[in-house]
């Protein structure tokens, strides 16, 4: 399956915006782990903005930067949002309320607890009526969401925004589902190479058996991000995209399968 990708964005600890992410991924700037607080989403009205949690803000931060990078109108894009944990902070608050005597769940928290909350706020903020899917596939979320976004792009022949993100869980859930830091990745996928912002061709293949190509980031400094968050599985792909180089890589999926990827930059000889 072949798609064309652009706008690849990484935000997380020490990576406050897309430009910083690209510099880090290219090795032009040493990676330094640092605080990251997702900004209030500018695309939302003040009322909606107040209702958003860090998890939604994280997703919308990456999504907004990716769409800006390809200069696309967000209202024209299908969306695939992937998150393993959903909104752990909201889910924890509700679970705590339910274990107490009163069980007075907050209505705002309840509607924010749906797994597609980030998608919902994105569509509200960006005025999107296009189809949107939200998925949760534990540590395979990145691979599953990428495969799904590519499939939508190819079959529906429409550009698709992919956003994969996770926040750490609050305690006590943090002890049973370890996510060490916030991280979000967003990429815009197009069915055709003649599209604004396309940086590379990406072919994907789902196959049985263990991966036979690398998946971990080349930059040693990014290792903690790779292992500490399901979205970190995108790091090696993002490195190749940022460097504009051809590469093959493979992600383990579901203990018995893999997702093979082949990146070909747009300016390489194959496209000349």
């Amino acid at each position: 399956m072949r798609v064309y990708v652009g706008g690849a964005t990484l935000v997380g600890p020490g990576i406050a915006d897309r430009e910083t992410g690209i510099a880090v991924l290219r090795g032009e700037r040493d990676y330094a782990f640092g605080d990251y607080v997702p900004p209030p989403p500018a695309i939302l009205s003040a009322t909606e903005r107040r209702r958003t949690s860090p998890s939604v803000r994280l997703a919308l931060h990456a999504a907004t930067q990716a769409v800006q990078a390809v200069a696309a109108d967000p209202a024209t894009l299908r969306t695939v949002f992937g998150t393993s944990n959903g909104d752990g902070q909201v889910v924890h608050a509700i679970l705590e309320t339910l274990s107490g005597p009163e069980r007075l769940v907050s209505p705002t928290q309840f509607h924010n607890s749906v797994h597609n909350a980030a998608a919902g706020y994105w569509c509200i903020g960006a005025g999107v009526r296009r189809p949107s899917i939200s998925i949760g596939c534990h540590d395979d979320t990145l691979a599953a969401a990428l495969l799904q976004a590519a499939t939508q792009t190819v079959v529906e022949r429409e550009p698709t925004l992919l956003c994969v993100f996770d926040m750490p869980m609050p305690p006590p859930l943090s002890l049973v589902r370890k996510t060490l830091h916030p991280l979000a990745v967003a990429i815009v996928l197009s069915p055709t190479p003649e599209w604004t912002g396309v940086e590379a061709e990406l072919t994907l293949r789902f196959a049985s058996g263990p991966p036979n190509m690398p998946a971990e980031p080349r930059l040693a400094g990014l290792q903690p991000l790779y292992g500490g968050n399901p979205a970190g599985r995108a790091l090696r792909l993002l490195e190749h995209l940022a460097c504009g180089e051809e590469a093959r890589l493979s992600l383990a999926v579901l203990d018995d399968s893999r997702l093979d990827m082949h990146v070909t930059p747009k300016c390489s000889p194959q496209h000349a």
Partner: protein
């Protein structure tokens, strides 16, 4: 789109276990919603509860997946010969060519609710026997079903609130068209938990009676639980148990409201867009649709906006109804429950009238029916809408084999 045959399908809900029990409940117009007796919930509401879920157990290699949601899924896998049909499909295609794409809204969160009550009083830690990844985590259901059926194709767990399992049909159709798989297990499971009961109570959306979708005096939803599955394949290689009554997915349409997190667009713009997209995919005009199975939750807002959306497209002639008066609102599994009901309407030639609605809302202009009717049903549109403004409409019809 090329049609995809539902070569096997099954459902377990408050209406009963399997398609025959579901068909019987619809025909006899048997009300099965009951006053809430779930765990220690003290809410003035009705629920659609599946009897016997607590008595289920999973086979030893899958014991880590033990939770109400997977028990319910396990019941469904062993109903209507569904698992056997998948075994036969595996022989045709290979285990790696069958995808598992399912929907759920809350997966096994009930397990976390129980674990939170058993936290260590000193440290607040969750009990050591609590297995988050195999129960509460969303992917638990898809991993469980994939392992229980011995499949090794691609898998995904969709969670778009109450449209989740309807979306699984659309996603699977794309996977088949893209060549990622030859067949797909779709559907999903959502089971009763305190989170959804108290959550909908906080929004003041629970009816103190059995829900009455489309009724003039409707006053909210009744939460139900259900699991259901369908096996989707291309017609040329499908081997349905009953070729004469075979049903196919003919189209799907998805859209977003982009309006509000928990209220639908009041004019039903997103709902109408999903239905139009589904008709386009199916290559059918509205007058070729014989029945619309409404999302019809029983809330004031949903049913009013859906009436507007349906009337915009189908006018006043096409019979439509909600079947949530039987099943309750099974949330993420509502889509598969109603896809199976649509298949039964097509196979058996009838349309169910809304249960529990004595008088339809006089403001409605679509043709909402309150009595069952015998008629040929070639094509059905089935609607599912969810929080976050997620909309999905499916078109099911007679399969030409």
């Amino acid at each position: 789109m090329p049609p995809l045959v539902l070569s096997a399908f099954t459902v377990v809900s408050a209406m009963g276990r399997g398609v025959a029990a579901t068909h019987d409940a619809l025909r006899r117009r048997r009300s099965v919603l009951r006053r809430c007796d779930f765990e220690d919930a003290t809410l003035d509401c009705f629920i659609g509860r599946v009897d016997g879920v607590e008595d289920e157990s999973l086979p030893q290699p899958l014991a880590a997946y033990d939770c109400r949601n997977n028990w319910l899924a396990h019941m469904a896998l062993r109903t209507d010969g569904f698992a056997d049909s998948v075994v036969a499909a595996k022989e045709r295609y290979g285990a790696d060519r069958i995808a598992v794409i399912l929907g759920t809204s809350t997966s096994g969160i009930l397990q976390s609710e129980e674990a939170y009550r058993r936290r260590d009083p000193a440290t607040g830690a969750l009990p050591a026997d609590f297995d988050y990844a195999h129960t509460h985590d969303l992917f638990s259901l898809a991993r469980f079903v994939r392992r229980a059926l011995g499949l090794t194709g691609p898998a995904s767990m969709i969670s778009t609130a109450c449209s989740s399992s309807a979306n699984s049909f659309a996603e699977a159709a794309r996977y088949i068209e893209a060549g990622l798989c030859d067949a797909a297990v779709v559907g999903g499971a959502d089971s009763l938990c305190r989170m959804t009961l108290y959550g909908f109570a906080s929004l003041e959306l629970l009816s103190p009676q059995a829900c009455r979708p489309c009724a003039a005096d409707r006053n909210g939803i009744s939460i139900g639980e259900a699991a259901g599955f369908a096996l989707l394949e291309r017609p040329d290689r499908a081997m349905p148990a009953d070729p004469a009554g075979a049903v196919a997915l003919l189209g799907y349409g998805e859209s977003s409201d982009g309006y509000h997190m928990s209220s639908p667009h009041p004019e039903g713009l997103g709902a109408a867009a999903a239905m139009r997209a589904a008709l386009d995919k199916a290559g059918l005009s509205p007058d070729e649709i014989d029945y619309v199975n409404l999302h019809g939750t029983g809330t004031r807002n949903n049913d009013a906006m859906e009436d507007k959306a349906v009337a915009q497209i189908f006018g006043t002639a096409t019979p439509c109804s909600s079947t949530k008066g039987w099943s309750g609102h099974a949330l993420g599994s509502a889509g598969i429950v109603e896809a199976v009901i649509a298949a039964l309407c097509i196979r058996h030639g009838f349309v169910p009238g809304c249960l529990g609605a004595e008088a339809i809302d006089p403001a409605f202009t679509s043709r909402v029916i309150v009595e069952n009717a015998e008629q040929r049903v070639r094509h059905v549109v089935s609607n599912s809408f969810g929080f976050g403004g997620s909309n999905c409409a499916l078109v099911l019809g007679e399969a030409a084999l």
